[in-house]
Subunit: 193 residues, 2 copies
DNA sequence: ATAATTTCTTGATACAGATCAATTTATGAA
DNA sequence: TTCATAAATTGATCTGTATCAAGAAATTAT
């Protein structure tokens, strides 16, 4: 538990510095969560209740169209997670969240986070900076999706996050890159030779 | 000028309420800008100096790969614009911004905006809420790019923003949707019949 | 361990959308 | 207006990736 809290604090301090008071106010509303692998955390149509800090594990955000499963992104150790859009305006989720590996960490409820924003300016800033960073990541991703071939997308993934090839089933990585598992497998073979 | 300021105020008030003091502090650092059509505002490699409020006109964000021009998005009347990632960490732009139509509005310099954030909590909140909304939009866009056919993407665009077909050259809309101008034209023909 | 299920690989074929090319239409300038 | 340039259309062809299919490898459950 102490280790998780230390991790959460460290993640916040990437963005802002906290006084002792602020640190205490920040930590107290978070509670522990833990899920087995392949467990749906937030399903389609549910309203996202929590904002997650993933201490250990991997989650995937995904949606389904015509029975096909599309991954929008993944959350790893030390990152934040949750169905953002549903959480932000407390509306039904149009995409879902589930674990890929056993996952545990800390989470905070909507009202408690709103109270943090209300009570302390520094958390507004933290959130602004965090969302800004997510936005930059989305930009990188959408430029790749728009302009790169399957081979380029595969090579970029391997270069930027080689570890995910062991962590995440290839079918999920494939849909994340906008290709079929078959094409992903072929690109993998090609890259090795 | 007064009309533009009113527009800027209205755009802020979509997200937060301002006291008279805050309103005054907010408005004063913005200055007018105006560009002809097809004018590069921020080029690749430049550092984005401004955050823009587009009062009237259309801008496009784009990048070039292998000599091909890809549009990442557009800004219309009453919206914010700028090369966000470059602006946020004051680093060289990896995508560029230019006008499509004659465009004018208001803009604020990086340091002045940082000062607003420092001085008034409400502007941190405004920015947080604004970036959150942009993020939701990105999600919609990337789900469409990942899972929709050319025909579906075209139909979605027409349904959601029919006016852009008159405003923006088809070649730009085509690349935004991840297809060639030829395919865009064919989808257009198909949709009419 | 062994069976059952799922994931991954590999080959053959199909097709949506890209590319190439030639007109037509629209936009802008002199 | 008329000319020049750029954008859009349309047809013919090509190709990267999807789809279909079947076997191999890896996981998971009993």
């Amino acid at each position: 538990m102490e280790e998780m809290i230390a991790g959460l604090k460290a993640s916040v301090k990437q963005f802002v510095n906290l006084t002792e008071n602020e640190e205490e106010a920040f930590i107290s509303p978070w509670s522990k969560f833990e899920y087995n692998k392949n467990t749906v955390i937030t399903d389609f149509g549910q309203t996202e209740k929590y904002f997650y800090y993933v201490h250990k594990g991997v989650m995937r955000g995904y949606f389904i169209k015509n029975g096909i499963d599309y991954n929008m992104g993944f959350s790893y150790d030390g990152e934040y997670s949750g169905v953002f859009d549903s959480f932000l305006d407390q509306s039904p989720a149009v995409w879902a969240l589930e674990t890929i590996t056993p996952t545990y960490g800390l989470r905070i409820e909507y009202q408690a986070l709103m109270k943090l924003y209300d009570d302390h300016k520094v958390f507004e800033r933290w959130a602004r900076l965090f969302y800004q960073r997510v936005l930059v990541g989305y930009g990188v991703f959408s430029r790749s999706i728009l302009a790169d071939t399957a081979e380029e997308k595969f090579n970029r993934l391997v270069k930027q996050s080689p570890h995910v090839l062991q962590l995440i089933p290839q079918k999920h990585l494939a849909s994340y890159l906008g290709m079929t598992p078959e094409t992903f497998s072929r690109m993998r073979k090609k890259a090795m030779s």
